[in-house]
């Protein structure tokens, strides 16, 4: 073989060259640093400046965190231990941990109740958020959860949330019977049936039957309150927002007009005004002595506020759909409800996910505004009872930093979930 090579002009390689590592300057960390940090002179200057800023930041913050005191009865005790050195006084978090989470009036022997409601929340939302992973049967628990959570957090007779739930079931049954004749009849008949049922059962006194110790709304507080408001308002405002968005597109002038006025009015008013209305003004309109829960009033206001925003986000999604989708659904003989549920909304909602999440995250953070109407949520607790106490007067950074961290973790989680969901639903572009 080899002698053939030697004599011919043509040439065939008979040994292959093994892979060689590239020169040091062209691979690995060195290459990365060169091309990303020091590629040009201005780039190098910026890199050095950034390094210097980072160093200053870290040298300030790191000792503050690392030297932090986690065990002290008060701020002055903290300062004594630190003895002039830099260091955070995180002892306030340890000492007031339960207050930060549950408020200062929730009975401490009942902390297990909101805690279990919190843990069950994950079981309840799992089949909604990860609908492909979890069995559909779990949705039954999701439907029961709101009533169970109410009972766990507020206590009282089990029959109260059971009747509230039964009202929905009865309303639905009446709706299902009447809807075959006409939608309007089913809709209003269902609502009327549920209201009548609630009115009758509301007059009954369940005291003593299947009781758990009752906790009044004004005794709720801390991050628990933010979570309650956030979860309830987000999950209510999405269906209301969808209804408003569809109503705004309706051919029926009265429905359209109501939706437009509602959306434009609510969007034009600051949330804090609505909260003051909930707190003070509503009381004038209600019959004296009527026990209309403050948290319920706040939930109604925040939900109205958020659903107006979500309605506009979803309207954007609806407008982004090509008209052909409506026509194709129509031409196949699907009725309005079917076309919306099966064709239009799945696509419109998918487009609207970033906007909805934006509203949801904003709404969740806005729940701290209730501290202004003297409810003791996380921020309310910090500003009120904790900072006002003689022991912890002046511990701003640690407390507010902690609040920021809690909210950041929750909101970042929501945002990451939404991005994952968008990738899951991305079917039209491979």
């Amino acid at each position: 073989m080899s002698d053939v090579h030697a004599q011919s002009v043509g040439w065939v390689r008979d040994t292959l060259i093994d892979q060689q590592p590239p020169p040091v300057t062209e691979a690995g960390a060195v290459k990365w640093v060169r091309s990303n940090l020091f590629s040009t002179i201005p780039n190098a200057i910026l890199t050095l400046a950034a390094l210097w800023v980072l160093w200053r930041l870290l040298s300030g913050v790191a000792p503050w965190i690392l030297n932090g005191i986690w065990d002290a009865p008060s701020l002055s005790a903290c300062r004594e231990i630190l003895d002039g050195a830099t260091g955070g006084c995180f002892a306030v978090l340890a000492e007031r941990w339960n207050q930060l989470l549950f408020g200062f009036q929730y009975p401490s022997e009942l902390y297990w109740r909101p805690m279990s409601a919190f843990l069950l929340l994950f079981v309840a939302i799992a089949p909604v958020l990860f609908y492909k992973t979890f069995p559909r049967q779990m949705l039954i628990f999701t439907a029961i959860y709101p009533f169970l959570a109410y009972w766990l957090i507020w206590g009282g007779s089990l029959l109260t949330p059971v009747c509230a739930g039964l009202g929905f079931v009865i309303g639905y049954l009446v709706y299902a019977r009447l809807v075959t004749q006409s939608f309007a009849m089913g809709f209003f008949g269902g609502i009327a049936a549920a209201l009548v049922f609630w009115w009758i059962t509301g007059a009954l006194n369940f005291t003593g039957i299947l009781m758990m110790e009752r906790v009044e709304s004004r005794n709720l507080g801390g991050f628990m309150l933010n979570l309650i408001l956030g979860t309830v308002c987000v999950s209510l405002s999405i269906p209301f927002g969808i209804a408003l968005a569809l109503g705004r597109q309706s051919d029926m002038p009265i429905i359209k007009w109501i939706c437009v006025v509602f959306i434009e009015f609510i969007r034009g008013v600051p949330l804090i005004t609505l909260l003051f209305v909930a707190n003070v003004v509503l009381a004038y309109f209600l019959p004296p002595g009527s026990n209309f829960d403050l948290i319920l009033r706040v939930i109604i206001m925040i939900t109205m506020f958020a659903s107006a925003y979500i309605a506009e986000v979803i309207r954007g999604g609806l407008a982004a759909l090509p008209k052909g989708q409506y026509e194709a659904a129509d031409s196949l003989g699907l009725d309005y409800a079917q076309a919306m549920r099966l064709i239009i909304l799945p696509q419109a909602l998918k487009i609207s996910i970033p906007g909805i999440v934006n509203v949801a995250v904003g709404l969740f953070k806005d729940t701290t505004l209730v501290s202004v109407i003297s409810m003791f949520d996380l921020v309310g607790m910090i500003r009120g009872p904790i900072l006002a106490s003689t022991e912890w007067n002046g511990v701003y950074w640690e407390l507010l930093g902690f609040a920021a961290l809690l909210f950041f973790v929750t909101c970042y989680g929501i945002s990451q979930y939404s991005q994952w969901l968008e990738r899951q639903l991305n079917t039209d572009r491979r």
Partner: protein, 262 residues
């Protein structure tokens, strides 16, 4: 226009029954003050294959969109399969489920697989059990020659394939009448043939079809009647042979010379 030749029996062999499928009497439509359709009278018998031609803006698409009430007409009467089109929603939905429609831009549902696109309406409108609807869907997907794409999404298919799926989707409702609204106008030339082949096959099975198209080869081979529209009116209608070889109206002559003359 390229003559996308397809071998077919001559249109005369396909039977047309005496039964009336669509009866349009003195129908008028306005967009605002613009008079789009003027005094349309048209009777379509069961088994007829009608091609509607005409310059753009002549109201061809609007006419067939009135037949399944995607557009409202303001005056006159449309009767489909014995049901008079009124503003009653139940009435409209009944007609729509009997009349299949294929659009220029396919209008498949991008969030559903091909199979789901085909089974959705039978399951929800006809209340057919899911497995049965899937069997029907696969039958029609085989007929349009893309059963292997059943689990893909519309975005993964070519235009021609998407249009064939759209035809299959309509057929799954077992319609008695099919409307085609420029089904090949958004397609690349090499994909036009595969869609036309499917339509020819459908015609051979005796489907009542109304087709708005610029494919004159298709009209010549499949149609038993060609209708020419201009300015919202039916200007001329005739058997394809006569229509193409011996057009009477000067507008028709001009139109034909323009589209066939290059």
């Amino acid at each position: 226009m390229a003559d996308t030749a397809v071998e077919t029996p001559s249109p005369a062999k396909l039977e047309v029954s005496d039964e009336v499928a669509i009866q349009i009497t003195n129908m008028n439509k306005w967009y605002g003050t613009f008079h789009v359709l003027r005094d349309i009278d048209l009777t379509v018998h069961r088994g007829e294959r009608i091609v509607i031609a005409g310059p753009s803006g002549s109201g061809k698409s609007t006419l067939i969109r009135c037949i399944n009430a995607l557009e409202e007409h303001q005056r006159g009467r449309i009767e489909v399969d014995g049901t008079v089109l009124s503003s009653d929603i139940k009435n409209i939905d009944t007609i729509r489920s009997e009349v299949g429609m294929v659009f220029q831009h396919f209008n498949l549902f991008p969030h559903l697989t091909i199979l789901e696109n085909c089974t959705l309406a039978p399951i929800w409108v006809r209340k057919i059990p899911k497995h049965e609807a899937e069997k029907t869907a696969m039958h029609f997907l085989e007929k349009v020659k893309i059963p292997e794409q059943a689990d893909k999404y519309p975005g993964q298919l070519s235009g021609g394939q998407q249009q064939r799926v759209a035809i299959a989707r309509s057929l799954c409702m077992r319609p008695r009448i099919m409307l085609f609204d420029e089904p090949t106008s958004a397609l690349d030339p090499e994909m036009i043939k595969e869609v036309l082949d499917t339509m020819v096959e459908l015609a051979e099975e005796g489907m009542t079809m109304i087709c708005v198209t610029h494919e004159m080869g298709f009209a010549r081979q499949v149609a038993n009647r060609v209708i020419f529209m201009d300015q919202g009116q039916i200007v001329e209608q005739n058997e394809p042979e006569e229509f193409f070889n011996n057009p009477k109206n000067p507008r028709t002559q001009l139109f034909l010379s323009q589209i066939l003359g290059h």
